[in-house]
Symmetry: C2
């Protein structure tokens, strides 16, 4: 990303001196609640298991119950936007209600929407998800850099100016992703490593006392060496790591999997918690949170 | 994509023998109206120029007027979803109204949402946008293969089983995209060329009389050689080509830019048409459509 944008960003931060950065808020949340992030994925089959209708109303109720079970036990939730979008505008209305409830409890919200585009379009996505007071206001948004890391310049600046964050897809946990994410750029780095380098560069100017506000998505089941990813460089970068629980990685392997970067990992678990059902969810969240805290200690 | 999916897809097509494929409908639309695709991009500044409020209602009105100006003059519209999403659920409600109006006139709708994810999440996106009778029903959806071409298997199958299409981002018109889209995969092909190869392979089993239903997004301003893209292989693949008009490519250069693949290109124009304003839009659409038809003759 270019120097002019950095200048704008710094000015923005100076413009709102009282606004804590997303990275600072995440650091505080880790200290208080640990590193667990609870997914909110209202699949058809999960709604059925929970005895809820496969409708926007069912997805809303599902989300509300996960928020209730998570508040004051964990610090972060991650609603999967696709499972709300499948109900169109009614699904978005449900998602807005879930966001509002989550914000009221102080949970940090990561909107897992994997948005990406160029120019004013990707800027519009940033405005949708990262604007204080917007009905879709989240604390951070997952994004895709397929159209170049530079294409994310506008939402990254917007995020920082508003105390928000991004998580940029880099090395995801699904095996079919390797073809593209391990492809070699002109510099010789893999696509994933080149995205990681851009993200760490972006975070470099931020406070050394807290995590940066622009993070990465790295699947917990990937081998960092296959992507030429140097985990030593990611100690300051939030890492959203799906793949724990149902997808195969164990929470007690966290230190082994992420080494020097383990303290910046958001351990994202969805199915292994959500499959506990509406009456077991609070207990499942507590058990997972305790397991995460035990590993950290 | 795997052989089992192909089998499912073929069975699906046989299961709905009366359902015309997206490729067949696109071929028919080209013959009738030509290859112009009109963007619907309700930017803040365009809404202001049109004398409309920067609200979901303004975006709805904007979309309705573009639909009205396009119906019976062109065959295809492409709403940019980001500019509706910025208004949250209210924006989606507006988009649903615009889609409904467009469907009623027989326009083909390409939802420019650039969705991508894995597993049941990307499947949910397919269901949201490509299900007959859904409030967000479009005819095709733009998607990103950043998580691997195989990650798009579920929406591609869903599309074909429902007479719908996909446009997979390959080589986009913004310069910062080249780093990733020209990166070399293990096979030696660029990321863009490897996506193009997967798409043409996917379309291979379809009717030779019509375009395939899975298309590519190739910016009109790119140089195919820089990506190792062989345009000779894309005569059967729909190519959504932004970059005409405001972004620099001229409509009369179409044959020169796309050579043997020119007859499968959707010439996408947004700003150059939309900036004509609410009273000039019908005329601007007609002029562009005539210019496109003249090039084809």
């Amino acid at each position: 990303m270019s120097n002019p944008s950095r200048t704008t960003r710094s000015t923005g931060q100076r413009g709102w001196p009282s606004l804590a950065s997303f990275g600072a808020r995440l650091t505080e949340s880790f200290a208080r609640y640990g590193q667990l992030c609870v997914g909110i994925d209202p699949h058809s089959w999960l709604l059925a298991e929970w005895g809820l209708p496969d409708t926007a109303g069912g997805a809303r109720e599902f989300g509300m119950r996960v928020v209730e079970a998570s508040a004051n036990t964990v610090g972060i939730i991650k609603p999967q936007v696709a499972f709300f979008e499948r109900f169109g505008s009614a699904g978005y209305h449900a998602l807005e209600d879930v966001f509002q409830a989550a914000r009221a409890t102080g949970l940090l919200i990561i909107a897992d929407a994997k948005r990406g585009d160029v120019g004013s379009s990707v800027e519009a996505y940033g405005h949708a998800w990262l604007t204080p007071g917007h009905p879709l206001e989240a604390d951070a948004l997952t994004v895709s850099a397929f159209q170049g890391f530079g294409s994310l310049d506008a939402p990254a600046r917007w995020a920082e100016e508003n105390g928000k964050g991004l998580f940029v897809l880099a090395a995801t946990s699904n095996p079919e992703a390797a073809v593209i994410q391990q492809a070699k750029t002109a510099s010789g780095k893999s696509v994933a490593a080149s995205i990681a380098a851009e993200v760490t560069d972006w975070n470099r100017e931020q406070s050394a006392d807290a995590l940066g506000s622009i993070g990465l998505v790295l699947g917990a089941t990937i081998n960092a060496d296959d992507y030429g990813l140097n985990l030593d460089t990611l100690t300051h970068t939030p890492i959203l790591a799906p793949g724990f629980g149902h997808q195969g990685a164990r929470i007690d392997q966290m230190a082994e999997l992420f080494g020097p970067a383990a303290s910046s990992v958001l351990i994202s678990a969805s199915r292994s918690i959500l499959s506990a059902g509406p009456y077991g969810i609070a207990d499942a969240v507590s058990r997972h949170a305790a397991e995460v805290k035990a590993c950290r200690a």
